[in-house]
């Protein structure tokens, strides 16, 4: 029940958002994933057919590839554009404090004691306060 929002979150996920989630799942692992594995990863209440439709759309955009050898029906992410983006990102990061560092990043730097506190949070549950 923990992954259920008050307003029926899963119904409201748009197809664009689902595309992002499928793509994120494929990128998070080294192995190609079958539609069933993807379905299990991103929420069991998502119809198998929906996963198929999303994979086809990502395939048409050239963002995912079908695995030829190995497991039939498995997909892996296409690397070309992602590698170009990584190069551009590193170049921008190396150039100095501007311009990417000025962005709101998901997370920022940690001090040693913060690192310890966060590790405790992940291993020991959420009983104590973090700060």
């Amino acid at each position: 029940m923990a992954d259920r929002g008050p307003h029926g979150r899963t119904e409201r996920r748009s197809s664009g958002e689902l595309e992002s989630e499928v793509l994120a799942a494929l990128w998070s692992t080294e192995h190609p994933l079958t539609p069933a594995e993807i379905q299990a990863e991103i929420g069991g209440d998502l119809a198998y057919n929906t996963v198929h439709t999303i994979l086809r759309r990502l395939y048409d955009k050239g963002l995912v590839l079908r695995e030829v050898d190995g497991r039939r029906g498995a997909y892996r992410p296409a690397k070309n554009a992602a590698e170009l983006t990584a190069d551009a990102m590193h170049e921008a990061l190396d150039r100095g404090p501007d311009p990417i560092a000025a962005l709101q990043q998901f997370v920022t730097g940690l001090s040693p004691e913060e690192e310890r506190a966060l590790r405790e949070l992940l291993t020991g549950g959420l009983t104590g306060g973090v700060v």
Binding site: A2, E21, L23, L63, A86, P99, Q104, Q105, L126, V131
Partner: protein, 297 residues
Amino acid sequence: MTVDVYTPLVLSLLLAAISPAVGRRVAPALAARVLTAAAVVTAAAGVWSLVLLAATLVNDAPPVVAEARENGRRLVEPVPEGIGVLACLALAVVAHRLWRAVRTTLGTRRALRRLCEGHPPGTELIVAASEVPRAFAIPGPPGRILVTSAMLGALQPVERRVLLAHERAHLAHRHSLLVTAADLAVAANPLLRPVRATVAFLVERWADERAAATVGDRTATARALARAALSAGRPGSSCALGFTDRAVTRRVAALQCAPPPHLRSVAAAVLALGVLPALGAADATDDLLHLLANVLV
């Protein structure tokens, strides 16, 4: 005039002093909006006050002095001449700082657009095949989310949903506009720097709260932040927001409590604080116009 014209200065110090406390107690969405609005109005009023102080130099313009002497009128000096000269210098500095801030913003936009090259239009998520764990929103339209493969690999499935929901919240609520507005306010009035830092922290908190609501799990949201922060390590380079001091642990701690209340009264007080310098500046304008009317007519 002589008092009013300095109110933006005093009030910007006050706004800077109270902003961290407001940021801690009030719901982030509300606090970020009122603090940014108050900062922008205060900065604008400050610039206008400088314009007024600079305008008092008109009394010393040779034609005005000559004419006044002919008519046998005594010239009023609302402020010492030195202050008028200083105000002129300050205006020049402000203009330079604003120009630099705009240039930086445009540079960031350009660099971000370059990151989207080669990706088909109509995709929300842009993955960078990189070992550096990073994630950020690229303001639109259309807004995009850039995440590196290292960051995706470090997170659990539910935590990836938290990350995407967090970045979507940045885009949906146009957080980049708020932060840019706060940037420009600081460029015009460096005393407001603490307000900008608070706003930058608050938009992260705001996106955290949205993500927690979307995923329906505050604990998973806190764990996503912790895991992402740990995998990102201590790069030291991503401290540009100036609020890295325990920012992540403070966000994690906030997610372990109930969402903060809206406290509209505090928000209204902050807005009032933002409006006061504008009133002061308006009053000072009135006074100066009267003075000038005496001198010039």
